[in-house]
């Protein structure tokens, strides 16, 4: 999968949320994490979302959506004309073919929500869809605040003093 992603995509990341990390009292070790999540978007270079995966997913799911994005981009190029219209048309075609009950079995409710959103508005800007997914689908707070680190009081699970 790494080869496929590397051949077709340039990857970047952004912290859009925060979580609480619990640190052991007398060490730097993080012993627990509360909250947090991930979402991965496959986009045109100008940030129009072609496909996405929300939450922890298998490599097969990630690869499936990466392939969908490549397929949509190729189809848009074949349609030609106005790039914006071609992209919307290609994405609309791709998502119209998704069998939702089957998709739900391996992508879950989150995956179905994403298909619905990408069908209703093909090729949305990443800033718009990303925030919606983070807040509505994943239930996270959109924030660039640093990670809160709490120090575990006492000596932690399994500790005998």
């Amino acid at each position: 999968m790494g080869l496929y992603l590397g051949a077709n995509f340039v990857a970047g990341y952004r912290r859009v949320g925060t979580f609480t990390a619990i640190r052991a009292k007398d060490s730097d070790e993080i012993v627990a994490k509360i909250g947090g999540n991930v979402a991965l978007y496959f986009c045109t270079p100008d940030g129009r979302v072609l496909a996405a995966v929300a939450g922890v997913a298998s490599r097969e799911r990630v690869l499936e959506e990466a392939r969908r994005a490549v397929s949509i981009a190729e189809r848009a190029e074949a349609i030609g004309g106005d790039p914006e219209s071609a992209l919307r048309a290609a994405a609309a075609e791709a998502y119209a073919d998704v069998d939702l009950p089957r998709h739900r079995r391996h992508a879950g409710d989150l995956g179905v929500d994403l298909v619905r959103w990408l069908t209703a508005k093909p090729g949305p800007p990443l800033e718009e869809l990303g925030r919606r997914v983070w807040e509505e689908a994943l239930g996270q707070r959109w924030s660039d605040a640093g990670i809160e680190i709490r120090v575990l009081s006492g000596c932690g699970p399994g500790c005998r003093r």
């Binding site: 790494g2 051949a7 990857a11 952004r14 859009v16 925060t18 978007y41």
Partner: protein, 81 residues
């Protein structure tokens, strides 16, 4: 690399394997499992620009598509990802 650095990097590798389904070294055909201290792959099989804007500029220049990971935490800090 200290023991704790090693443990943190192993954790990151395992976490990203679950999230992205990529195994370090698998695609490159190398035997490397533990990434270097400032490895922009962050233990995965692909390079990560530290912002979507930088990745987008590189995508435009190379004619590739753009992949953007949204996350809580710091991808560059194995202990806080």
């Amino acid at each position: 690399m200290s023991r704790w650095d090693l443990v943190r990097r192993l954790r990151l590798v395992l976490g990203l394997t679950l999230v992205l389904g990529v195994v370090p070294g698998a695609a490159s055909g190398t035997d490397s499992v533990i990434p270097g201290p400032y490895d922009s792959t962050h233990g995965t099989a692909i390079e990560w620009a530290d912002s979507p804007e930088r990745a987008a500029a590189a995508a435009k220049a190379s004619g590739k598509l753009l992949a953007v990971l949204h996350l809580a935490g710091e991808l560059s800090d194995p202990g806080l990802t």
